[in-house]
């Protein structure tokens, strides 16, 4: 019976309901404490913690083998206990200095009442509450001060008529009344006189705070577990910063005690008192403006309590809001288009280190025993056995046999990862939820994580040395959640814009483009190609000797699929329509507008019609088809891709010559002062704008010439036309003219006085003196053109470097402000305290990730419904 109750109790889950904040009173500090610290010594000669020292084992244990004297538990079990020291003289708490100051200023020095007459207090409440809403407690105190200084009786207590003296704060911690220093003892007696009702006017809550608690008479000593010492290789002990600081405090405190008891002269006591004040101040905050920070012997400042909590590396953001995890792995990624989109290739070495916990039942006992027999060094084996009482046993050559003997239902075997296990895969920066998706594991040879290049997009990954993280969820709950909510196919549609985030990229687009643009293959080649892609049903292939690309592509589409859309490029007949009828690509070419990420409705429609699982399969096949076709066909970009025929080159030269002349003309007109000025602009600005417009226009003209004359069948053109990489602009820049280099929307003007480079004449406003690059990359740039290019290049690098932290901060603020908005069961959007932000999410209650580009596609429904 007794045993039954025990096992029951083991499974009681406790939940923290709420946390109350308050200021610790001296009584509380003493009550909390399990030891009174009296000596600054840490260890005795044997290296054992001294009783009453700062490392007293009543404050918790940090050495293996010792037991805590307070709770009796061992290292890692004992969470530590507070201690306290009795201060020889009271000391001001640095954090509360400003509050103490306003309390002193706003209350009577004799009777401790607030300096506002009774009849006026009632009227002030509303005013004060408003001040608090705007400026928090500081605002409220400032408002009280204003009210008092607005009274006739500024210098007189309205209750006891005592004259009030001016109180100033001599930073950091000394209060001065009429040029006379007030000791913390005096301050404390003043604060004691303030009644609980008056405290409330200041916004302080009686029961949680008393003003006099802000002057310390006892100091709480944090547990040793909070400031563990580390043992160096030499066997020396290195103490934590806090311990150092506390040591100083205790030492000075002891000396102060001794001096007081010995009746030392007032000056010595005062000095020691100030020193104690300094140490306690820096114990709380080592960054007080007026004090020199306390330092190590090496000169580096101590990290005391405030620094421990604050900022990104502080306790809150580093350890509480963000946590470390086990069962994870990180390595370089590389592509593998032959694995499925929702798979991740895991190296065998990793698979043998990370484990999956499997609970032993009667039915899988034998199965799991086989894993255990293989042990930890043979794949697939097992690394650990967990007993029902929670004890974890490592599988080693010695323990193996005993453990196999021991295992029984109720045990948990931690076996190696195997194909099909669920893992979370993540790449930083994790900017959106698709940055962490769950994949099925595929154990592969090698030492890198493998992922299908189609999922690079949501992760924003490439393979130039990127690393990614892998996490293995360990509980059934977590595994299910990862499988149901986080798998790649569930994340196909971006919640940002309601279109597919996963699509074909680069070669996959080029390949499909070339295939559907009019490729013809022999039947055996076509079958071979489809086979490679994973299509096994060739009944859709027409029975001809030569099969065209569209027919091959159609084999991947479902038989009942209908679609109408547009492509960015034109097919051989010059149309840009894409028509799919009953699963056959009848017309049009496949390019980025239909296959790419975030664009077009082809992928979105497949997803809508056939569901996520089928969509991801089809997408994977399309992707493979493109890559495989391209690999068999060969694809390259060559220097000759940007070759232009002679007439085109002449044309471009004419255009640029004319532009230069026009610019010179404009400059002449400007110098004659005959330039027609735009309203609201100066003549110089007008000239600049006109020149910029002119040069941009002629660059675009060269672009058109290039587009007309370039060979459409070269690799570069194919990439540009299909949208897989680069655009017409890049082609024009290579073949004809790079164009105007602009900085901040203007032509380049910085450099020397009146000119951009010493190469030019002063005041030269002509096109090439102000950053117009008239040569193309292939033809080669002149030295000054190259330099202008470098200027804008550097500028854009700086832009990126400056933007990243800015947008990161904006993102952090947004996320912090909005993280607890959620849709309630009544479909309103509310924040954490239940305040309604929106009555219907987005006014119509549509989830973007379930919509089609943010809307319900009525056109599609109408065409589907008969």
């Amino acid at each position: 019976m007794a045993e039954e109750i025990d096992t029951q109790q083991e499974y009681v889950h406790k939940k923290v309901e709420n946390i109350v904040f308050g200021v610790a009173s001296p009584q509380l500090i003493k009550k909390m404490a399990s030891a009174k610290i009296v000596t600054p010594e840490l260890y005795d000669k044997e290296g054992y913690p001294v009783d009453g020292g700062l490392m007293d084992i009543r404050l918790g244990v940090i050495d293996p083998g010792l037991r805590c004297k307070t709770c009796g538990s061992k290292l890692k079990e004992c969470i530590g206990h507070f201690g306290y020291i009795e201060l020889a003289r009271p000391v001001t708490h640095i954090i509360f200095v400003n509050i103490i100051l306003s309390l002193l200023r706003s209350t009577c020095k004799e009777c401790g009442k607030i300096l506002i007459p009774k009849d006026k207090i009632g009227r002030c409440h509303a005013k004060l509450d408003k001040a608090e809403a705007e400026g928090e407690l500081e605002g409220r105190r400032a408002a009280i001060k204003n009210i008092i200084s607005g009274l006739k009786t500024v210098n007189k207590c309205p209750y006891c008529k005592a004259r009030q003296q001016k109180i100033a704060l001599e930073k950091p911690t000394t209060f001065v009344e009429n040029d006379k220093k007030m000791s913390p003892i005096e301050v404390r007696t003043r604060l004691e006189k303030i009644s609980d009702e008056d405290i409330e006017i200041f916004g302080l809550k009686p029961g949680y705070v008393r003003p006099e608690w802000m002057i310390l008479t006892v100091l709480s000593i944090p547990p040793v577990t909070m400031r563990p010492s580390i043992t160096l290789e030499t066997g020396e002990r290195s103490e934590d910063d806090l311990t150092h600081k506390l040591g100083d405090i205790v030492r000075i405190n002891q000396r102060l005690f001794e001096n007081i008891n010995a009746g030392a002269p007032e000056i010595i006591i005062e000095d020691l008192w100030d020193l104690l004040q300094y140490h306690i101040t820096t114990f709380f905050d080592n960054n007080v403006a007026q004090l020199p920070p306390a330092r190590h012997r090496s000169g580096q400042p101590l990290k005391t309590i405030t620094a421990r909590i604050k900022s990104k590396e502080g306790r809150i953001r580093h350890n509480l809001a963000g946590k470390r995890t086990n069962f994870s792995s990180r390595t370089v990624i590389s592509p593998d288009p032959m694995i499925e989109l929702n798979e991740v290739g895991v190296p065998k070495v990793v698979a043998m280190k990370l484990t999956m916990p499997i609970r032993v039942t009667e039915w899988n006992l034998e199965y799991l025993k086989k894993f255990m027999e293989r042990g930890s060094s043979k794949y697939p084996g097992a690394n650990y056995l967990i007993r029902p009482d929670g004890k974890k046993k490592k599988m080693t050559d010695e323990t193996q046999e005993a453990l196999i003997e021991e295992v029984a239902p109720g045990y948990i075997v931690e076996r190696h990862l195997m194909d099909g296990d669920i893992a979370l895969f993540n790449r930083q920066p994790s900017l959106h939820r698709m940055s962490m998706m769950s994949h099925k594991i595929r154990v592969l040879a090698g030492r890198t994580f493998r992922l299908n290049p189609a999922v690079c997009n949501p992760y924003n990954a490439d393979f130039d040395g990127d690393e990614m993280n892998l996490h293995i969820p360990q509980t059934e709950e977590a595994i299910t959640e990862a499988e149901v909510l986080m798998q790649v196919q569930t994340q196909l549609i971006s919640p940002r814009y309601g279109l597919s985030v996963i699509g074909c990229v680069q070669d996959a687009i080029s390949g499909n483009y070339l295939l559907t643009r009019g490729a013809e293959l022999r039947r055996d080649e076509a079958v071979d190609l489809l086979c490679r892609v994973g299509v096994k049903d060739f009944s859709k292939l027409p029975s001809k000797e030569m099969i065209n690309g569209r027919e091959i592509f159609s084999c991947i589409l479902p038989d009942d699929f209908n679609f109408k859309g547009k492509s960015r490029s034109v097919d051989e007949k010059g149309g840009n329509e894409v028509i799919i009828k009953s699963g056959k690509l009848v017309k049009g070419v496949m390019d980025r507008d239909n296959l790419g990420e975030g664009s077009g409705l082809l992928l979105r429609t497949i997803h809508k019609n056939y569901g996520e699982n089928k969509a991801i399969k089809i997408l994977g096949k399309i992707f493979k088809l493109g890559i495989v076709y391209l690999a068999r066909n060969g694809f390259t970009a060559a220097l000759s891709d940007s070759d232009l025929p002679e007439p085109a080159r002449m044309k471009i030269k004419d255009i640029l010559n004319k532009a230069e002349d026009d610019v010179n003309n404009l400059i002449n007109i400007y110098h004659q002062g005959k330039l027609e000025i735009f309203p609201g602009r100066t003549a110089e600005e007008t000239l600049e704008l006109k020149i910029l417009e002119l040069l941009n226009k002629s660059r675009n003209e060269t672009g058109i010439v290039v587009a007309e004359h370039l060979n459409k069948n070269t690799g570069s053109s194919v990439m540009s036309d299909s949208g897989s990489r680069g655009g017409p602009l890049n082609l024009a820049q290579m073949a004809a003219c790079v164009g105007q280099q602009a900085m901040r929307g203007k032509r380049i003007e910085k450099g020397y006085i009146g000119r951009t480079l010493s190469f030019f004449k002063k005041g030269d406003l002509s096109s090439n003196a102000r950053g117009f690059i008239r040569d193309g990359y292939k033809g080669g740039l002149t030295p000054y053109e190259f330099f202008f290019g470098a200027i804008t290049g550097r500028d854009s690098l700086m832009d990126t470097a400056l933007r990243t932290p800015k947008s990161g901060y904006l993102y952090r603020r947004l996320a912090n402000a909005m993280q607890d908005l959620k849709v309630e069961y009544d479909l309103t959007v509310r924040d954490a305290s239940g305040r309604i932000v929106q009555f219907r999410y987005g006014e119509d209650g549509i989830d973007v990730s379930k919509s089609e580009n943010g809307i319900i596609n009525i056109d599609r429904i109408i065409s589907n419904v008969k």
Partner: protein, 375 residues
């Protein structure tokens, strides 16, 4: 026909229903019915589920493309238009809830007949703020007689449509203790008090430069443009309160890009719409695709309390009920100390606090609880 549509009122959002009505015009009743049924089922499938963490998704959707935006502060939209803050700085400016924005702008729509282009240039200039320094050429101080002579620039005056009469009137109204006389194209300003010191005269001289002659205060630049068959005035600088009452101005469409001014003059709802429009404008010009719902949610979090609050530690975040949530954002020490002073209780209702305590968070799958009967 209307009967069919009415049946779905309340079951479909009105804009969706309206679109269906528009697109199914003239179709047979049976088909319309089927379409409506299908639309309704698709709508129900596309609805948000309770517990969905829409706030975080919204923040992600705006924060993620932030890295792709340009930092260029200014650009010239078109040939002769004015400088506008664009890109990331503009988004930051709006979401910060800044009281003073970098480039305030107004789009002033006009009533007929002005919207057809009648007197458009003249009208635009009459809205622009004109001060003395723009319409005078010479300002001479005569210390001995303690008087100031200023010469008017007739060409400039004609440009903005100001008569010398206007000028003397404006000077008389805005300068104290002086007498104003007009002599040809000279205006003589004499100090009334005899023993006026030299300092006084030069003080008046400085004041004269800034005397406001005509137009609307704060409008520094005007530009009439034609947009969709009508003329509108784009103005740099913003003063909604003074522009709206003008009889030429269509007060139902005239807007400013200043969120705070809109909130003051037209109320929070209008300010919310301005936030949405302005953020959307920036995102659109950058060629990014972000659903309007996310922007709406941000605008709503900024404005649902009744006035516009920025997404900063002084704005929205300071309103949070949870001490730990506030502390995890910025200035943790301040929040913890203040919480201790008032004996604040953190009820652990939102996300971060529960993360801190290793407890399930109350959004998404953490929201429902399972109750099992134990025998």
């Amino acid at each position: 026909m209307t009967k069919e549509y009415n049946k779905y009122k309340g079951r479909l959002p009105s804009n969706v229903l309206e679109e269906v009505r528009e697109k199914t015009k003239g179709m047979p009743e049976g088909r319309v019915n089927n379409i409506l049924k299908e639309v309704c089922s698709e709508y129900n499938k596309a609805r948000v589920e309770p517990g969905e963490s829409v706030g975080l998704v919204g923040a992600e959707s705006i924060g993620e493309p932030g890295t792709q935006m340009t930092l260029n502060t200014f650009h010239f939209a078109g040939v002769a238009e004015m400088n506008v803050t664009v890109g990331l700085p503009r988004i930051i400016e709006i979401l910060d809830g800044r009281k003073k924005i970098k480039t305030p702008m107004m789009e002033i729509f006009l009533n007929k007949p002005w919207s057809n282009g009648k007197d458009i240039r003249h009208l635009a200039l009459s809205i622009k703020e004109t001060t003395m320094k723009e319409i005078m050429t010479d300002l001479a101080v005569n210390i001995v007689e303690s008087k100031i002579e200023l010469r008017l620039d007739n060409a400039a005056m004609k440009d903005v449509g100001v008569t010398p009469g206007n000028v003397t009137e404006a000077l008389g109204k805005q300068l104290r203790g002086v007498s104003i006389k007009k002599k040809d194209d000279l205006i003589v300003i004499k100090m009334k008090s005899k023993e006026g010191s030299v300092g006084d005269v030069s003080k008046v001289k400085e004041k004269i430069k800034d005397v406001f002659v005509r137009g609307v205060k704060g409008i520094t630049q005007v530009l009439p443009v034609k947009r969709n068959d009508e003329f509108i005035i784009i103005a740099a600088g913003s003063n909604l309160r003074d522009v709206l009452p003008l009889k030429e101005v269509d007060e139902t469409r005239t807007i400013t890009n200043d969120v705070f001014e809109t909130a003051e003059v037209l109320g929070v709802e209008a300010a919310r719409q301005i936030i949405i429009n302005e953020v959307n404008k920036v995102i659109d010009t950058q060629g990014l695709n972000v659903d309007l719902r996310h922007i709406m949610l941000v605008a709503d979090t900024m404005s649902f309390s009744g006035d516009v609050k920025g997404i900063t530690r002084y704005g929205i975040v300071s309103e949070k009920a949870s001490v730990l949530a506030r502390a995890s954002f910025e200035t943790p020490i301040k929040h913890i100390v203040n919480a201790a002073l008032v004996g604040e209780v953190d009820n652990l209702n939102s996300v971060v606090e529960n993360v801190m305590l290793n407890q399930p968070v109350p959004v998404g799958t953490g929201l429902p609880g399972l109750v099992t009967k134990v025998k």
